[in-house]
């Protein structure tokens, strides 16, 4: 069985068999509160899964608001550590793209806060059945997203399927492919400025 955890939008946890069949899933759409719900969602999915051994933990690597995103990655890694099994990092937009049946290119668009959206453009699937990225994930101001896409079909997503994330990973594993490195998809630099000279306080 393959366990998937994603906190890039809401919180999604799912367990599938190696062939992609769903064993159990649990999710909340709330874009906040990931830390509060992640433990119970994991426990619920384990309880609902039935017998079998978990072989991999899939971690959705974003894009997503960093504070929430990290909670899922931390939980996925710690879970894997507890079982002595590997973590499979997967870009979260691949899960959303998996269920899209479209002719020609389409864009997965998710909220990135601060009036920006994260956009990834896909076109079809490859031999392994994994959605093909034709333009890497970028942040664009929400009001400019349509202009940026120039007519490419836009699919706005506010919830991700943990099961689809797990299925993408299952296909990648079967094909011996690596879809992401260990670093979360941080599309912004930390919000910080180097200090200048100390402010004068006057006397």
């Amino acid at each position: 069985m393959i366990l998937a955890v994603d906190t890039s939008l809401g919180t999604a946890v799912a367990l599938i068999d190696a062939d992609g069949a769903l064993r159990a899933e649990a999710a909340t759409a709330d874009p906040l509160g990931h830390a509060e719900v992640i433990g119970d969602l994991l426990a619920d999915v384990l309880k609902g899964a039935g017998a079998g051994e978990i072989t991999h933990v899939v971690s959705g690597m974003g894009p997503g608001p960093f504070t929430g995103l990290r909670i899922g990655i931390a939980a996925a890694r710690a879970f894997a550590l507890g079982r002595g099994i590997p973590v499979v990092p997967v870009p979260s937009h691949l899960a959303a793209a998996l269920s899209v049946s479209a002719d020609g290119p389409f864009a997965i668009v998710t909220d990135a806060r601060r009036r920006e959206v994260a956009v990834t453009v896909f076109d079809g699937t490859d031999a392994a059945g994994i959605p093909t990225v034709v333009a890497d994930t970028v942040l664009v101001p929400a009001v400019e997203a349509d202009a940026h896409l120039g007519g490419i079909r836009r699919i706005d997503v506010s919830e991700l399927s943990g099961a689809d994330l797990a299925r993408v990973a299952a296909r990648a594993l079967a094909a011996g492919r690596v879809l992401a490195d260990d670093e979360p998809l941080y599309l912004r630099h930390p919000d910080v400025v180097l200090p200048g000279a100390p402010k004068r306080v006057g006397s």
Binding site: V5, T7, G33, H34, A35, E36, V37, I38, G39, D40, L42, A43, L46, F66, T67, R70, I71, G72, I73, A74, A75, A76, R77, A78, F79, A80, L81, G82, R83, P184, Y186, P190, D191, V192, L194, P195, P198, R200, V201, G202, S203
Partner: protein, 354 residues
């Protein structure tokens, strides 16, 4: 449950990723990865930088702690984690990891209070006699400056006072910058102060006037002191005089130390508690320890100072607190708690199962 539970503690409230393993009151590992170097160029802890570093450091730190302790995760009786207070985004990384781990190995999870953890650090000092209650505790770090009345570690901790603005460690960092010294400021100020005269400049003691003491007897304030140092430095520059860095550093440090020790010993006297426990990273400051020990001795107060590796933020103190909770029969936390950046010290354990 055995008499001495084997607990792994996860601490991510500020810039240290701390993983500790204890068996009851016996320390098996105190593994700390710090992101301090990454914050140095910014002159203070940057929450987002700290949170990113925690995520990277957690797994290797847990592996290292298990290695050092010579145990496997399956051997654990429980997992413990800091729920607060601290930086929200940083705390959440630890909470996510702790929940993932506890569910994975199917062990109980204890969500605990960071400040009370600082007190629990003391019970890991095998060579000293057990901590006696009640005790006054002074916790001083870059993130907090708190004076506590501890009647019982697991059930009864009261906040007497805390800083109204900057933490003492922050004041050291900010004044270091005023003196063009690098971050972190504590050791730099200490070094600069070595040849200085602590009585050269009479800097203000925050919240120490009679009028302030009525309302804020045990509270601290360091922003006025910082401003006073800034004014002093500016005046030197305006007058074309070289800033006497050693004297400024020594006098500033003396003002911080004086107000910390005075208020802590006032609490001991007012409450009739002849015991003072010091904790937090600023305890590394030699002058603070010296003054505290000397003045406490005169006041007939016994001072306890855990080893420095247990004074700075660490996971061992979190594990130790959970081990005490377990030994006293407390139930684990539910899985439904979150990170609470302002968790009050009275909440020693969070979300105990009913």
């Amino acid at each position: 449950m055995t008499a001495a539970p084997l607990v792994l503690g996860i601490e991510t409230s500020c810039d240290e990723t701390g993983i500790g393993i204890v068996r009851g009151r016996t320390l098996l590992s105190n593994t700390i990865a710090s992101s301090m170097d990454e914050h140095a160029r910014y002159g203070g802890v940057v929450p987002e930088v700290a949170a990113r570093a925690h995520l990277e450091a957690l797994q290797p730190s847990i592996d290292a702690a298990l290695d050092e302790a010579g145990i496997r995760l399956q051997d654990l009786d429980a997992v413990a984690v800091t729920s607060g207070p601290g930086l929200a985004g940083a705390l959440m990384v630890g909470v996510g990891a702790a929940k993932g781990l506890a569910v994975s190995i199917d062990k109980p999870l204890y969500a605990v209070n960071h400040l009370v953890g600082h007190i629990a650090a003391d019970i890991l000092t095998a060579d000293s006699a057990p901590l006696e209650y009640p005790t006054i505790a002074l916790l001083v770090s870059g993130g907090h400056t708190s004076l506590l009345h501890v009647r019982d570690l697991t059930t009864d901790v009261e906040l007497l006072g805390e800083t109204m603005d900057d933490a003492a460690g922050e004041a050291f960092d900010k004044v270091a910058r005023l003196l063009s010294l690098p971050y972190p400021g504590g050791p730099e100020i200490d070094r600069a102060a070595a040849d200085g005269d602590p009585n050269a400049i009479r800097f203000p003691r925050g919240l120490s006037k009679a009028s302030d003491l009525a309302k804020h007897r045990y509270d601290f304030s360091f922003s006025g002191l910082k401003t006073a140092v800034a004014r002093w430095v500016e005046r030197c520059e305006a007058d074309g005089v070289e800033v006497p860095v050693a004297d400024v550093a020594a006098s500033f440090r003396e003002a911080v130390v004086d107000v910390l020790v005075t208020k802590a010993l006032a609490a001991c006297e007012d409450l009739g508690v002849p015991r003072l426990l010091l904790g937090g990273g600023v305890i590394a400051n030699r002058r603070l320890r010296e003054v505290a020990l000397a003045r406490a001795e005169k006041a007939g107060v016994t001072v306890r100072i855990p080893p420095l590796s247990l004074c700075t933020d660490n996971g061992a103190m979190i594990a130790a607190l959970a081990a005490e909770l377990i030994s006293s029969g407390r139930r684990p936390s539910t899985l439904a708690f979150g990170a609470d950046s302002t968790l009050p010290v009275t909440e020693i354990q969070v979300a105990e199962r009913s």
